[in-house]
Structure formats: C-alpha cells, structure tokens
Amino acid sequence: MTPPSTTSTGRLLQGGRVVDATGEQVADVAVRPDGTIAAVGTDLDLTALGLADADVLDCAGCVVAPGLVDLHTHLREPGREEAETIETGSRAAALGGYTAVVAMPNTEPAIDSAGIVRQVLEAGAEAGLCDVRVAGSITAGRRGEALSPMAEMADLGVQIFTDDGNGVQDDRLMRRALEYASGLDLTLAQHCEVEALSEGGHMHEGAWSSRLGIPGIPAEAEELMVFRDIALSRLTGARVHFQHLSTAGAVELVRQAKAKGLPVTAEATPHHFTLTHAEVASYDPTFKVNPPLRDDDDVAAVKAGLVDGTIDAIATDHAPHTQEVKEAPFDEAPCGMLGLETALALAITELVEPGLLTLPEVLALMSWRPAAIAGLDGVHGGPVVADAPAHLVVIDPEEEWTVEPAHLASRSRNTPYAGRTVRGRVRHTLLCGEPTVRDGKATR
C-alpha cells in the first residue's frame, strides 16, 4: 500500500513496549515519511535519522505491535451497504487495531470474478483506513455447483477462497476445488456446516434450544464437515483453513489432524470463547450467529484450542446487520454479530486477564499468525524492525471501557456486548505510518 497522505514529517512512537513475533523490548519506534520504519530502539538520534520534526505519539504504558489482521470480515459492500460499507467497516477495523482485513465474498453479487475483486480492492484503497484484502468464493456465485475462476482472482492477489456463509456441500466438488487450489498454492477456507443436519435450525441444539422451543443445529453438523475436509486435505495434500470453529469435537479433530502433520489451520471468534447458548434465553436476535453460540464445554474447548495452538488465529466474523432486520422474530432474523471493535479487548479480558494466554500470545493469534494464513506475512504482522512497513497498533492493555453500541464506527449496532465492561483499548493504529486511529479516535 502507499501512504494515504504524504504531508507527514515522520513519526515517533515514544515510550512503548514493542512486541512482535521475535520477542519484546522497551523501545521507541521511528517512522519515515514514506511509511516505513526508520529505527527501533532507545535514545534514537532523530536528527541523524532525518526525523527531527517527527510527530510524537505517546505510547507510555502501551504495547506497540504489528497491526492486527482479521481473516474473517463481512464488509457487506457490494449489495448490503445499508448494513456496512467498505469505508465504515474499515474504520471499525482501524478502531479495533486492525491494519488488514480479509473481506468475505458473500456479498451481492458474490466476489467470484476478477471484476468484483478489483472493485472491492479499489474501494478499500480509496477508503485508506485499512488494507482491505478479499477472499474469493470457491464456487461460482457461492452456489456450490461449479468452481469459480480462482486463477483469475489469484492474479489480483487473492490467496484465500471460501464460500463462507455456507460450506461446500458436495464432497466431490470440494475435492476438485482443493486439487485445483493446491496447483496454484492457494488456501481454501471452509465454513463447516453440513446443511442436511443444520437446515431449519436457528441456535445450538441442546438444553437451551429444547427449553426455548427453537429448532437446533447440532454440533455434529460442523464436525462432519471438519472431518470430511481433513480427509480431503489428506487425499489432495491441499491446505485447508477451518473458519470459526465452535465445537469441542471440531477442535479435537483439528488437533488430531495437526498431530498427523496435515496442512490444516483454524480460527475461532471472540463470541465463541466468551458467550454460550444460554444468552439466547432472551430471544434477542443479536445473539443469533452461525455457527451458533454453543455450550460451556464447547467454550472451554475453544479456549483450550487457543491455548495449545490447535487454533491458529482469532478472527472476528464481523457481520453487521441493520436494526430493522435484527428486530425480527428469532427464527426470521439473519445470523451475525459485530466483532471488529471489540475482539482485542475481549481477548485481553477473557484470555489474558484470567492467565490463559499472555498478551504477546494473543497478538500472535490476532496479527502474525493470521497474516501468514492469509498470505500477507510479507506486509502485515512482521517484526517491528527498520525498513518494515509501519503497519502498527498501540494498545493500552489496562484501560477499561464499556461497549456502547451508539459509539461504534460500524454502520450497524448488532453487538452482543452492549454494556459490557472490558479491558484493553487501542490507543493508536498506524497504516503505512499514518494514524488511522489516534488517541482512541478515528482520524478520518
């Protein structure tokens, strides 16, 4: 990416603790006007670096890290701009500490051709708030019938493909997709859901669905497809990335597949490690999501998977919906909840605070590991060192704040965390050295 504006005289991120994949150190970070890092260290000689007039960003008490990378974002444009646009979604991303997001292809029309890929990439670059990348669809129109032109989209830099919103149901087609993708060195990501088992369901099938009288989606609908795709990865040698794992059984299957050395990776969302199906007792469709909120054992298993490395990344599955469509009867409301602006704080509150993970481990799950899965590791998530692009996030890990839907940058308000007090806040986000977020506020 090129810097969004070039009036900068360079910047100095002063007084923070720099954390990246190589370790941590107390250091200042100097950024050149061209958006690359000039130097990292203490007592930097700014004059010698040509940055005597540098704009100083206070990072005292904060962690300075590579910008976060979201593998799973629904930006809704084209087609559902009333819920989110590429601009509002990437502003929300910046506020959440992200410098790159992978936009899911379940737009209208679906991202299944070079033309639409180009359109989304251009709109992302124009907004200039975040590096907007796209996932192409595996099948044409996400209909699950024929392969989409993956090579054509790969020429534009698309490296990950998914029919997210739906899993590829046809076993033979999925095998062919994996074979074809492996020839292009691409990754296929799967929304794991066997529709024959989930159809008609609106929440996790179990004690709560039985009590509330809401048709359920059994955990096995997810697990069967995880199992199938592990088998197909073995058959084809192709890389498979499992999206939003939500069940204990699915986590265990991925654990076993990794132990056998298969090229599989997985992500989990904040809502799947912080909320359970008991939330649905309110019949509030804000809590309707796919895969659904599961039970306590599943939440524990997802956390365990994050701790032991079975799950490689925390992804948001940021899925904005307007108030109008969410204020429907539970079984008529669409699935999805917001995620970009709360993910980091939830990870800190629910994983770091109780001592399950350290903050550097959370950053691995939210920055450098997802960057590698998305094929962005040359640009995002890399070590904070001289000459690297200054895609950075500055986090105050102690700041407490309360989630207030009205204050979110997303065009939609469907957060399940309204009113919840969380710890850990993004102070600054820099894209190519330019603050997209400064002192907790979006700059544009």
Binding site: A207, P218, A328, F330
Partner: protein, 325 residues
C-alpha cells in the same frame, strides 16, 4: 403508551409470557389464577355473563398465526370483563407489506392499549414484544415454546375433575418436541406436584431434557395402567415428510390412544387433548367421546381462565414476573 394508560400504571406492566411468570412460587401463582377462575366461572353462568371489572381498558389480540379458537376465547374473556377489544390479525395488517414486528407494536402502543395478547408461529415473539411495549403482554402461543393459558385451563380442568395434583401421574403423549402446550404443561403440572411422563418416540422428544422434571417412556401400553391423566398432543401430518415417523398409521399403532389402549387406563382416568383433534390418529373417535374424556370442559374453562389472567394483569395489584431486564 397513551397518557391515560401511563397514568394507570405505576411501572412496566406485568406479563404472562410463560408459566414461570406466575411468580417465584409457580404453584401459588397457579392457585391464585384457579381461585379467580372459580368466580369467573360463576360469572359465565349468569344470564348476563358480564362484569364491569375492566371497563375503559383496551385489550388487543395480535394474531400472526391462525387460531380462531384461542382468539375467540380471549376476546370473549375480555368482553365479559367489559374491556374494549381490538383485533389485529396479520392478514389485514401491514406486516405482510414489510412492516417490522417492532413497527407493528409501536403502532398498537400509540393507540393506547393496556394488554396485548400475542400469538405467533415463532418462539419468543411475546418476549420480544414485551421489550417494546409498556402494555401487559399475554402469550397466546409462540412457536414450539409456551402456551401458558392453555396450561392454566388444563390445570383447572384437572382440578375440577380429579381434585388435587399431588401424587397424580400424568402422561403427555405424542409430539412433545414441537409442542408449546407440552412445555407449559410440564412446568405447570410438575409445579403443582404431579409426576409427568412424556411418552413419544425419540424423534418427537426435544433433543435434550436436561432440567426437565419428567420421566420418559417409549412404551405407551406400559404407562397407561398407572396414568391418572392421559394428555394427548396433536400429531401433524408433516412430521411424516420430515422423517420423524415412518407413517401416521404406524404412529397410531404405537402411540395412538385406541379403544383397546384406553381400556388399560384406570376407570377414573381423565383423557385430555388441547384440540383440534385428529380423530383416528392420536385418539380414536370413540375414546374422545368416553365419559373420562374432558376435552369439551377444557374449551369451556378456557374463557374463565383467560378472564382470571386478564383480571390479574390489569385489574389487581398482584406483582408478577415476566418483565424483561
């Protein structure tokens, strides 16, 4: 909410969304309704079956799903209490033209109503409605979830014919999984001290019965000799196409209350059904007409029970739950 309606109420209205809303002690909540029902049964037997209790109050019936029986029962109850009634049925409303559920509620609320009786095919709609209005909300049946006034009239009918509930064995037979009546009745019957056995093939039971104070049997013949009340649920044809049962014929053969099976019941056992019945499927025609079958009493008691519920929500100072956080 209209200023007059607001002035009448000190806080958010009381609701009846499910049996648990009858209070922290569900049994005494049910007892209270039963006691009131006794007096409203007496009103219903008068030459002019009407009292001025809810004069000036407005009760709206908001039915998104057809149920003439239940709607008429509520409207009759409201009229006998001298309330004004409005009928907002979905076929004539703007809901079909894309108006949201919430818009509909706000429109109704703007008319200044005191109670909204909601029937909807989706579970949870009455709870959502209660979040958006200060009027009292009565659940008249939502999806597979609850139908509390049906359970109350069933309790009243059982008490009328069998006296107390303590130690009584009640079998609820059939499609429990899709039954709002079953969910409300399990809660009500067990709260009153009865022992409930659900009798159905596993495909017609909820996927989990965690926390349900019931026993389960797949053998109706074995259960019947120890049953004081045999409560049959309506069996719907589409359960066959959903592969939940092989055929209605097989269902009747294994779970239908045939004449031969009904003979296994104790002599004084009651046979109940929430209606409408599929004679020849879950219940044999002759069985429905036996002396122990109190299906007609259930319908008759419905009006008085609903009068009691409306009176409790609108006409008395009783504090009930059912408010949404």
């Amino acid at each position: 909410m209209s200023p007059t309606a607001a002035a009448r109420r000190a806080g958010p209205a009381r609701n009846l969304l499910g049996i648990d809303d009858l209070g922290p002690d569900v049994a005494s909540g049910i007892d209270e309704v039963m006691g009131l029902t006794d007096s409203f049964v007496e009103v219903s037997e008068r030459i002019i079956p009407k009292v001025p209790t809810l004069r000036g109050r407005t009760v709206v019936s908001l039915f998104f799903e057809d149920s003439t029986r239940t709607r008429l029962s509520f409207e009759t109850a409201a009229k006998r209490l001298s309330a004004d009634t409005m009928n907002f049925s979905v076929s004539t409303s703007s809901v079909k033209k894309g108006e949201s559920l919430r818009d509909t509620i706000e429109t109704i609320e703007a008319m200044g109503v005191d109670a909204i009786v909601v029937r909807h095919g989706s579970s949870g709609v009455p709870r959502q409605v209660a979040r958006w209005t200060d009027a009292a909300v009565v659940n008249a049946g939502d999806g597979w979830h609850e139908h509390p006034t049906q359970a109350l009239l069933d309790c009243y009918t059982i008490r009328q014919h069998a006296g107390s509930f303590a130690g009584k064995h009640i079998a609820i037979v059939g499609d429990v999984k899709h039954s709002r009546v079953a969910r409300s009745n399990v809660a009500a019957f067990t709260a009153l001290g009865a022992e409930v056995t659900l009798v159905a093939p596993p495909t017609l039971l909820p996927p989990s019965l965690e926390g349900w104070p019931v026993r389960v049997s797949h053998d109706l013949d074995g259960v019947l000799p120890h049953t004081d009340v045999c409560y049959l649920l309506r069996m719907q044809r589409e359960r066959m196409t959903e592969a939940l049962i092989p055929s209605l014929r097989e269902y009747t053969a294994t779970f239908g209350l045939t004449t031969r099976r009904a003979d296994r019941l104790p002599d004084d056992a009651l046979i109940m059904h929430p209606g409408p019945m599929n004679r020849g499927v879950e219940i044999a025609a002759e069985v429905a007409d036996r002396p122990g079958a109190v299906i007609v009493d259930q319908v008759r008691n419905g009006v008085a029970v609903r009068m009691a519920v409306l009176f409790l929500l609108l006409g008395s100072g009783t504090e009930w739950g059912g408010e949404d956080a």
